[in-house]
Symmetry: C2
């Protein structure tokens, strides 16, 4: 049978691509071929201003140029990892809805994030950001649905780092942390400096986004974050850190063994209420949905007034370019399908 | 912070209520007080035609009467459990979008279900039906999102009967089936004649709805359904059946013990592909997400081209008036928020 009728009739065009160097714009839409060329160029480290049809411009100028053209329901997709809040305000002001894969604007200063949402509301624009937590998994959308149907979120508990999930899973199987980390790096699961994953800050940013959606009014530094990186290895170079990861083996092995001795499993958990957001290691009982989490899977459990005894739980791969792209596309379709 | 801006500004009015006896209509919207009176009246077995402001009419006449009024984006919500396909065509033809909590129209004859969706498409109308599977859990919406982002669904596996989940969970704990059934009836988990749950037909209907959304072109009778009710107890009266449930204890106990001896758990599972839909008892391995299913929780796992190694899994309470009402409201908001 058919998908939901509404989305079926939507024609999407990619009319522009923008980076720090400049932009390219084609009102009729960039051809697939040209898009592929741009992607290949970016992957090779080239700048848009220097590609065929590309024009050198600051972002503000690019926005002004693009906004001069009559576009039907324009949507700006932010797939950077930068602090783009100021630029996003300009896109909103020029009539664009926003889709964010970028966590920074919503996990930055509260006033900034709130200002963005207030501006969107006052302009009748929308901001969707499904992929800021769990990539393509329907986590943010589910949270919105719960809120929109007047449920009250009591607690959100989540394992939202595939990297940390993988590492703790391997440690649980008896493997030393340093060996598991080496494999995770080989598989491309980690940031170039794996301390970015191990510090818990990526999980903290996701937790802050979820927290703010349920009324937590704090800043990133009000989140309790347990870093897995010992004090002594925080200030050293990446190379020295990688040489000395063996120093972390014993402590993590012990934590994992303790959890298992108590009948549970060690997980890196984000725990979110209106009043408090914290992220760190926790021994979850064997009866918890988090006990059965596998590999790099993410999992988020919503405990609400309606889902009180048993939570609503979403589980699955929460990272990767293809599922992230799908989540971005779903957000775009959702915006395009609404007035 | 704020929910998605779009839905925030929507004003919903309940302008009509319709049953077989007649209808009530109030263009400015029925007051909360009147709505509560209607609900209380229906619960007491009264008919709308006989309530204050109610008018006697056949459904076709009621639709014609209601459609005479200028309504902004009217939505018809079907919360019956009847075969309403013919009536739903009239609602569509009179300009209504549809929200179905009722499984029958989509799980009836394929031509009928397809005709409904084709009519909706040709009229630019939409049909949403989140609560036909798993009540308020975002199962149908997730399936649509996967399809809309051009993922390909390879397999859907689900435990979508809270009643059967509860019974098998109790049997797993060593309790006899007949005792567990008694408690389930006391807790209101079963249909008045529990054979309706035990026959697997409710699960089969949900499986058929999911199957049709991924391209299964068969009818309900093409689904392999394993009934838990032995041949000898199918034709007897409800009273006789309830007296003789003890006859089912041993077989179910043995099946559960076998599953556990093999390191697994006995679940009542719907298994869905484009080519085949079947529902019945299965021993799921301890490593399966279904192994950790608790109480009356539902669980649906989507294996797709993008979610291939590990599925996308949704788990939680999949029945009950409050979560069903919330799911219906989310569908209404989704329709109201789109052009």
């Amino acid at each position: 049978m058919i998908p939901r009728a509404k989305q079926a009739g939507i024609a999407l065009r990619v009319v522009a691509a923008v980076d720090r160097s400049g932009f390219v714009f084609e009102q009729r839409g960039l051809s697939r071929r040209r898009l592929e060329d741009f992607v290949a160029g970016k992957e090779a480290g080239r700048k848009i201003a220097g590609m065929p049809g590309g024009r050198a411009a600051g972002v503000a100028e690019a926005i002004a140029e693009i906004a001069r053209h009559a576009l039907s329901r324009p949507i700006l997709v932010d797939v950077t990892a930068e602090d783009t809040a100021a630029v996003l305000r300009q896109w909103l002001a020029s009539g664009h809805d926003l889709v964010l894969a970028n966590k920074k604007p919503l996990a930055g200063p509260l006033e900034q994030a709130r200002g963005l949402l207030d501006l969107a509301r006052s302009r009748g624009r929308r901001i969707l950001h499904e992929t800021t937590v769990g990539a393509g998994l329907p986590i943010i959308d589910t949270l919105y649905k719960l809120v929109e149907s007047n449920d009250r979120i009591l607690r959100i508990v989540g394992c939202t780092s595939g990297t940390l999930g993988f590492l703790l899973g391997e440690i649980q199987k008896g493997r030393p942390f340093s060996g598991a980390l080496q494999e995770a790096m080989k598989l491309g699961y980690t940031e170039p400096d794996p301390r970015e994953d191990l510090s818990g800050m990526d999980v903290a940013r996701k937790a802050l986004i979820l927290g703010r959606l349920v009324g937590f009014e704090g800043e990133l530094d009000r989140i309790e974050v347990e870093s897995l990186v010992p004090e002594a290895l925080r200030g050293v170079t990446r190379e020295e850190f990688l040489r000395r990861t063996g120093e972390m083996d014993r402590a993590l092995e012990e934590r994992s063994r303790e959890a298992q001795a108590g009948g549970g499993f060690l997980r890196y958990v984000a725990s979110i209420t209106r009043r408090q957001v914290k992220v760190g290691l926790q021994a979850v009982p064997a009866s918890s949905p988090f006990a059965s989490l596998k590999g790099t899977d993410n999992q988020v459990a919503f405990t609400t007034v309606r889902y009180r005894r048993n939570p609503l739980v979403i589980t699955g791969p929460g990272a990767g370019p293809d599922v992230t792209a799908a989540g971005v596309l779903n957000d775009i379709l959702s915006l395009a399908g609404s007035a």
